[in-house]
Assembly symmetry: C2
Homo-oligomer: 465 residues x 2
C-alpha cells in the first residue's frame, strides 16, 4: 500500500492526500454512531484528479468512500473499519462553474455546499430552492447521492427533480459527461437517475447542472392548529384549491415538539398559550407583494374555518415560526438519544400511520415518548422515539422499535427512508422489507456498473456472495 | 410457431390474439413511414396475462414490440419486417384503478389514454396536467416509454416527473411491483427511471401511479409579439419575476406558421392584421378568479412594454388562440411531407440555434421552407423543413438536412430528441452524436435487464454484436 499512497500523492500533489491524525474528522459520522478507518483521505481539485485516483484504486483493488459535507444520517459517507478503503473528499471541488440565468441553471462542482449554490443563484436574482437543516454544510455530491429533500419539496421536488445533468467518474476511472442543461431530452436511458440516490455505489458525481427558479418576493407564513392529522391533509387540499399550488411548505408539528422546545430551548418564544395537540406550519410563496399574499392566505384560512390561525404579520414573525420548526432537532438532541425514523407513506395514510404507530409502540414500550413532525405535504414524517435511557445504550432497543414502525409502514405501502437514504443504517432493513425481485434488479445494475464492487461497497445493498 | 400461437391463444382467451388481416392497423405507424409484419397481436387484459405472454415469448425466443395508442413519431411501436415478432397491445388494459384524491395520485393501467386519465382526475376535482396533440389516443404506457412532454411541461414537467410508481413485466416474465405513491422514497436505486423513456426495451410497463394537482380555476392567455427569439426568453423571465412560476405554457410561433395556417386552414380566424415574425402564446394559470389573473397578466405585459399583446378576453378567445397553435401540425400535413426535428437546446441558446440553423440550411438548400415553433420555455423547438418535393421522396434529403441540424444542436449542447424519443428513426443518429461511453453504459444496462434482447429489439440502441 505504500506504493499506492506514494502514487496517489504524486497524482494529487501538496495537500491532496491526508493520512494519520489529519483524517480523524473524516472517519466519524456527524451523529457519532459509526467510527471507521481508512488508508488515507484524497482531496482532488478537478474531475481529472478524481478519475486518476479512481483508476489507481482500480489497479490496486482499493475501494472508495466518497464524502461531501459528512452530514449523512445513515453512515453512508463513513469508511468501514478495515482501514483498507480510501475516502475521497470533495471539499476542494467547490466551485460554482457557471450560472446561466436565461436557462435557469447553475453548473457546480460536487463539493459546493447547498448554501453556496443558493448564494450563487441569489446573486443572479434566481432561486435554488433546496433547503434543509444541514444545507450550510451539506455538499451537492452528497445531496445528490442521497437525493436529499427538505422543507421545499412540496413545491420544487427533491434534489433529483432539481437536477438536469451530471458528470460522473465511473468505477474504472472513465468520465461520463452528462452535463446537459436541458428540460427535455428523450434520447435513451436517462443515466443520471441511476447515480442520483445511489449513495456513491455506482460512480462518483463530480459536477452537476441544477435547476434555478424565479425569486419569489412575497411569502406568507402561518401556524394553524388542526384537530388531528386528517384535518391537516384536508387543510392542505383546501389551501391548494383556494390559492393554487404555491403552498411551498406544509409542516406538521405535534404537541410533544412544543413541550420539548419549551423545556430544552427556553430561549425561543412560545406562540401558543397552550400548545395544540397538532398544528401545521404553512408557508405560501409568490412573486409580487407580500401584503397581497398575506391577505389571500388569511382569507383562505378564514374561509376554511381556521379563524384562530396565527398568521405571521412581519418577516420577523415568520422567521420566529421557522426558528421553532428548525429547532426541533436541537431540542431533541438536548433531551438525549432517540431512535429516529424518516418514513413516508401516501399522504392519505398519514392519519392511520400516526394512530396505529402510537398504539403499537405503546403496547410494546409503555414509556415510549414519541416526537412526530415533518413534511406532511410530502407524506414524510420524522418519527422519533425516546425511551427511559437517554444514552447510546438505547440503540439496543432499536431493532425492536424499527420492527414495529417499518412493519406498519410496509403495510401502508410506505417507505423506511423518505429523504435520508440507506447507508449502512438501513441496509439490512431494506433487504428485509423490499421485494426480493427489486433487490435482484439493484444487484444487476450494481454488477453492470461496478463489477468489482469498489464504489462505496457495503452501502445501500450488501455485497453478493 | 404454430405451437407458440396456440399456447398464446390458450393463455389469452377469446379476442386475446389477433392474426391475419386483423393486425394490419398495428403494423403501420401513424405517419405511415414504417410498415412492419408480426406473428400476431396479443391483447392482454391483466398484468398476469402480460407476464404469461412474456414467459411464453422467452421460452420460444420470440421478441416483443409493445404498443399503446400507436402514436409514436419515431417508429418505436412498429414491429420490424421479419414477421417473427409479437406485438403486445395494451388497448384492453385501460382501467383507472384508483384515484386517491387525498394523496393526489391516480393508479392506472398502461392502456388508459391520457385523456381518460385527465377525465378521471377531473371527476375527483383534481388535475392531471399532461397534454399534447395526441393525448386523446396516446396511452399511458407509450407516453411513459417515450417520457412524453407537451404544452404544460414548463410548469408540471414531463411524464417522468408526473410518475411516482410503476409496475413492470421484465424480460423473463417476472413482475416488478414498484407501484408506490410516494413523493419521497430514497431506498436505493430508483428503478422506475430506468423504464421511463426506455421505449419498452427494458421491460413492459403495465401500471403506473401518476401525480395529480389542484385544479386551477383561473387562466389567462395572450398572444404576444416579440422582436426576436431572444426577446421571447426575456419575456418569459420578466413574466416569471412579475407573476411567479405560474406561467404554464409559453409557445413560440414563427411567421411561417401563421402563413401556413392562413393558406391551409382558412377556416380558422386570423388574430393579426400582419402576422408577426415572432410571437409567443402565453398561458398563466391559478386558483381563484380568472378576472384577477387576467388583470395581473395584462399589468405585467404593460410593465414589460408589451402594450400591443393580444390578451384573450374570454374563454372563447383563449380557445381560439390554442386552436391556432394546435392546428400548426395539421396545416403542415396539408402542405405536404416535411423533414421534422424535435430538438432542445439550453433556453439561452435558442436565439443562436434559430439564426445559425437557418443560415446553414439555406446555404445547402436555398429553397428550404422552415417552419419553427415550439415549447420555448423548455428549450424545445419543433423545427420542420419543407423542400420543393412535397411527397415521401423528400426523405432522400433527410440525412443531409439532419446532419446540418444535429451538428448544430450538438455544438450547442442540445439534444436531437426532446420529447418524441428515438425509436428506429433516430437510433443511428443517436449512436453517431452521443458520447461512446454513454452508449456503452446504455448497453450495459440493456444487457443487465434484457440479456437475450427480446424487449423491443432494435429500438433506441442497436443490438450488440
Amino acid at each position: 500500500m505504500n506504493e499506492f499512497l506514494s502514487s496517489l500523492t504524486t497524482l494529487l500533489g501538496d495537500g491532496g492526500v491526508l493520512v494519520g491524525r489529519d483524517i480523524d474528522g473524516y472517519l466519524l459520522d456527524q451523529r457519532r454512531r459509526w467510527q471507521g478507518a481508512a488508508l488515507a483521505v484524497a482531496r482532488p481539485r478537478t474531475t481529472g484528479d478524481v478519475a486518476a485516483a479512481v483508476r489507481l484504486c482500480a489497479e490496486h483493488g482499493v475501494s472508495i468512500v466518497p464524502q461531501g459535507g459528512n452530514t449523512s444520517l445513515c453512515g453512508a459517507a463513513t469508511p468501514d473499519t478495515t482501514g483498507r478503503q480510501l475516502v475521497i473528499s470533495f471539499e476542494r471541488m467547490n466551485h460554482i462553474v457557471e450560472v446561466d440565468a436565461a436557462n435557469d441553471t447553475v453548473t457546480v462542482e460536487a463539493g459546493a455546499t447547498i448554501a453556496e449554490v443558493q448564494a450563487a443563484a441569489r446573486a443572479a436574482n434566481r432561486l435554488f430552492p433546496a433547503e434543509w437543516a444541514a444545507s450550510a454544510s451539506a455538499r451537492v455530491g452528497g445531496a445528490l447521492g442521497t437525493n436529499a429533500g427538505g422543507v421545499n419539496v412540496l413545491h420544487y421536488g427533491n434534489m433529483r427533480e432539481l437536477t438536469l445533468g451530471l458528470e460522473v467518474v465511473l468505477a474504472d476511472g472513465s468520465v461520463w459527461n452528462g452535463l446537459r442543461g436541458l428540460r427535455k431530452d428523450n434520447t435513451g436511458y436517462d443515466l443520471k437517475h441511476l447515480f442520483i440516490g445511489a449513495e456513491g455505489t455506482l460512480g462518483l458525481i463530480t459536477r452537476a447542472v441544477l435547476r434555478l427558479y424565479p425569486v419569489l418576493s412575497a411569502r406568507a407564513t402561518a401556524l394553524v392548529t388542526v384537530t388531528d392529522p386528517a384535518a391537516s391533509v384536508a387543510l392542505l387540499r383546501g389551501l391548494q384549491a383556494a390559492i393554487g399550488d404555491r403552498v411551498t411548505s406544509f409542516e406538521l408539528i405535534s404537541r410533544r415538539c412544543w413541550e420539548l422546545l419549551a423545556e430544552h430551548c427556553p430561549e425561543l418564544p412560545h406562540p401558543h398559550a397552550q400548545p395544540p395537540q397538532w398544528c401545521v406550519l404553512v408557508e405560501v410563496s409568490d412573486a409580487g407583494d407580500s401584503d397581497a399574499l398575506l391577505e389571500r392566505l388569511a382569507e383562505a384560512l378564514m374561509a376554511l374555518d381556521f379563524d384562530d390561525a396565527l398568521v405571521a404579520q412581519s418577516e420577523q414573525d415568520a422567521q420566529a415560526f421557522w426558528a421553532l420548526r428548525e429547532s426541533i432537532p436541537e431540542a431533541q438532541r438536548r433531551r438525549g438519544v432517540s431512535i429516529k425514523h424518516d418514513v413516508a407513506v401516501p399522504i392519505s395514510a398519514i392519519p392511520a400511520f400516526l394512530t396505529e404507530a402510537e398504539a403499537a409502540l405503546k403496547a410494546e414500550f409503555p414509556t415510549a415518548d414519541i416526537v412526530a413532525f415533518g413534511h406532511v405535504g410530502d407524506g414524510n414524517l420524522h418519527y422519533n422515539v425516546f425511551l427511559d435511557d437517554k444514552t447510546n445504550a438505547v440503540y439496543a432497543d432499536e431493532p425492536a422499535i424499527n420492527h414495529v414502525i417499518y412493519r406498519l409502514v410496509a403495510s401502508l405501502h410506505g417507505t423506511l427512508s423518505a429523504e435520508h437514504g440507506i447507508g449502512v443504517l438501513k441496509r439490512d432493513e431494506l433487504a428485509h422489507y423490499r421485494d426480493p425481485l427489486e433487490l435482484t434488479l439493484m444487484h444487476a445494475v450494481k454488477r453492470a456498473l461496478d463489477p468489482r464492487n469498489l464504489m462505496n461497497p457495503g452501502k445501500v445493498i450488501q455485497a453478493e456472495d
